[in-house]
């Protein structure tokens, strides 16, 4: 509270000086608020028209049946009842997405952390390496790479030719319901560079004197990693877990392109977002799609709340060390 008052007072004094105007303090405060809101106008307009308004409208739609042609019809909890009780494809979409998130996010984090540790040994040419490692993240979410990936994991793709080389034979990965998801997990893992660069930047921030003290105490490599590096990196791990998970729940392009928009084979690539797209914009069941969207929002909100409430037990913030 006091800091707020101080900053207001601090800003007012020099502002009034050049004009020499002795207007009441209140009027000046009002004017500066008006200026601030002038700067905020585009964002506030967007917040109401593009974000909050549509959010509330979609909450309403979640309880209706709506096909764009006739006006929405209130159906109460029917959409949710159908989702939970009578729609096996919905559960398939939940299963596919959860599997993807639970495998993909930890895999990306571990690989990026290991490679960041490996590269953080005062290696020369780090700038060039970093750029090259970033290239997959740059292009990984494009349709072009999804097309390529479909080939890489296809019957005559790079993966199979590589396996043949060492004497193993495997059918199409993307054509087989048991393995198609691996292709998308692989695509996501391939683009680990962005996460790795964040870890690399974090490793640079770890105070060198901590390591010196530890080596004086006779700590070996693993102990140094466990007691110094890892705790120092927890804020970044927290940040990456949160953002990567939220993004993984929203994966769409890869699954769409590899499955040709169907989510096949046998719905093995029916990601939640893909099913939502099919319901809303192919079958025009807008109410059902809105209900699915709100369920996703609720799930992510619960996840975020858990992440933040457990953060104080494991996320280490430098000052108290």
């Amino acid at each position: 509270m006091t800091t707020y008052e101080e900053t207001v007072a601090g800003q007012d004094a020099p502002g009034a000086a050049p004009t020499g105007e002795k207007s009441p303090r209140r009027k000046r405060k009002w004017r500066s608020a008006l200026t601030a809101y002038a700067f905020l106008t585009p964002w506030l307009l967007g917040l109401v028209v593009i974000t909050l308004g549509p959010m509330l409208f979609s909450l309403y739609l979640a309880f209706t049946r709506y096909d764009l042609l006739s006006p929405p019809r209130w159906v109460g909890l029917a959409n949710f009842r159908r989702m939970f009780g009578a729609d096996p494809r919905f559960w398939q979409a939940v299963r596919v997405t959860l599997t993807f998130v639970l495998v993909s996010v930890p895999l990306v984090l571990i690989v990026s952390l290991l490679l960041a540790l490996f590269l953080n040994r005062g290696i020369r040419l780090l700038g060039i390496y970093r750029t090259l490692f970033y290239v997959p993240s740059l292009i990984g979410s494009s349709v072009a790479i999804a097309i390529l990936w479909k080939q890489v994991f296809g019957t005559f793709g790079i993966v199979n030719r590589g396996l043949e080389f060492i004497g193993l034979h495997h059918g199409s990965w993307v054509g087989n319901p048991g393995t198609a998801l691996y292709a998308i997990i692989g695509l996501n893992l391939w683009a680990f560079g962005a996460t790795m660069i964040i870890f690399l930047a974090g490793l640079r921030q770890v105070p060198a004197n901590l390591y010196e003290a530890a080596s004086v105490d006779g700590a070996h490599v693993f102990q140094r990693f466990w007691h110094i590096t890892l705790p120092q990196l927890t804020p970044l791990i927290f940040f990456n877990v949160l953002l990567d998970t939220v993004h993984a729940f929203q994966a769409f392009t890869g699954a769409y392109v590899v499955s040709g928009g169907s989510g096949g084979p046998s719905d093995s690539l029916l990601f939640y977002t893909l099913y939502l797209y099919q319901k809303g914009f192919v079958e025009f069941q807008m109410g059902y799609a809105a209900a699915m969207a709100w369920l996703l929002l609720a799930a992510l909100a619960v996840f975020t709340a858990i992440a933040f409430s457990t953060a104080r037990f494991w996320v280490h913030y430098g000052d108290e060390a």
Partner: protein, 298 residues
């Protein structure tokens, strides 16, 4: 006593490091480089293969794991002009227009909003900032259906407005936050002296904050460009006329329209679609490092 032992110990480790034979260190450094290069080759091999395959005759595109073979430009010729009425360069032009508008819109909205949050005081600031932070994690699907309905009612389907307007209204909260953080770190003394010189808030913004936050704006521009160029779902929803298609939709149409026979032209167009991304990234990267060094010198 303990400090004494500590000192002697550091001295001995220092000596041990100094006297370590430099030859083994060189070998270890070389091994490290070699391993790094191997990992990068492994990572980027599929992309190299895609580029190589796009230059092979159509019947040999998928035939080999290697990078070499007969060289032809036929795939690019066919890919760019698959039908008399259709030219793929049209999609590139469309994508470029959308991406440029998205970049301009995002920079416009993000810097204005970020300045207000970083430097000005106003009622409900904390509440609004909390809302801003919450919208960073908001899944876009929650607004997808109603936004579509809204743009449909406004007859904006098959225009670029639904793809671009949200950027001008600061819908990308993450970039606003990025700019807020950057502007907060700029020295406040500059604002104060400008205020003493008679600048109002707008002039402080234009003459001091904008020039100094060019690195943050460059980062915003780069990531907005990448996201817009790669965006698939947005154009898929809002554009149904082929003449308006962006590059990702054009590629997707290629998959649907062409059978197994013409992977060559599909690959060729896929390669072309990646060129602006890589080029923009390399250009922006140089600009960013320059921005950092110039502000560092100041």
């Amino acid at each position: 006593m303990s400090t004494q032992t500590l000192e002697t110990r550091t001295r001995t480790t220092g000596i041990r490091l100094m006297t370590q034979p430099s030859k083994s260190r060189l070998v270890r450094a070389l091994a490290r480089h070699l391993a790094t290069i191997l990992i990068i080759c492994f990572l980027l091999y599929p992309v190299a293969w895609l580029v190589a395959a796009s230059f092979r005759p159509d019947n040999q595109v998928l035939s080999t794991l290697g990078l070499f073979g007969r060289f032809t430009l036929d795939n690019y010729r066919h890919g760019l002009n698959p039908a008399p009425s259709l030219h793929f360069s049209r999609f590139f032009l469309n994508s470029a227009v959308v991406a440029m508008l998205a970049v301009i819109g995002n920079i416009f909205a993000c810097t204005l909003t970020a300045y207000a949050f970083a430097r000005l005081d106003f009622p409900f600031k904390r509440v609004l900032f909390a809302i801003l932070m919450a919208t960073i994690l908001l899944p876009y699907h929650v607004t997808l259906v109603p936004q579509y309905i809204l743009f449909d009612k406004l007859s904006w389907l098959n225009t670029y407005i639904p793809l671009v307007l949200p950027k001008f209204l600061g819908a990308d909260a993450f970039f606003i936050f990025l700019n807020v953080q950057f502007i907060r770190a700029l020295p406040r003394e500059l604002d104060d002296s400008a205020r003493v010189d008679g600048c109002n808030q707008w002039q402080i913004f234009r003459r001091i904050i904008v020039p100094l936050s060019l690195p943050a704006m460059g980062t915003t521009a780069m990531f907005t460009f990448i996201a817009s160029w790669n965006d698939f779902l947005g154009p898929l929803l809002y554009l149904s006329k082929t003449q308006l298609y962006t590059v990702p939709l054009g590629l997707n149409m290629f998959i649907d329209a062409t059978g197994r026979s013409s992977y060559g032209s599909l690959f060729a167009m896929a390669v072309l679609s990646l060129v602006p991304l890589v080029a923009f990234f390399l250009a922006a990267q140089r600009m960013l490092t320059q921005g950092i060094t110039t502000t560092g010198i100041k």
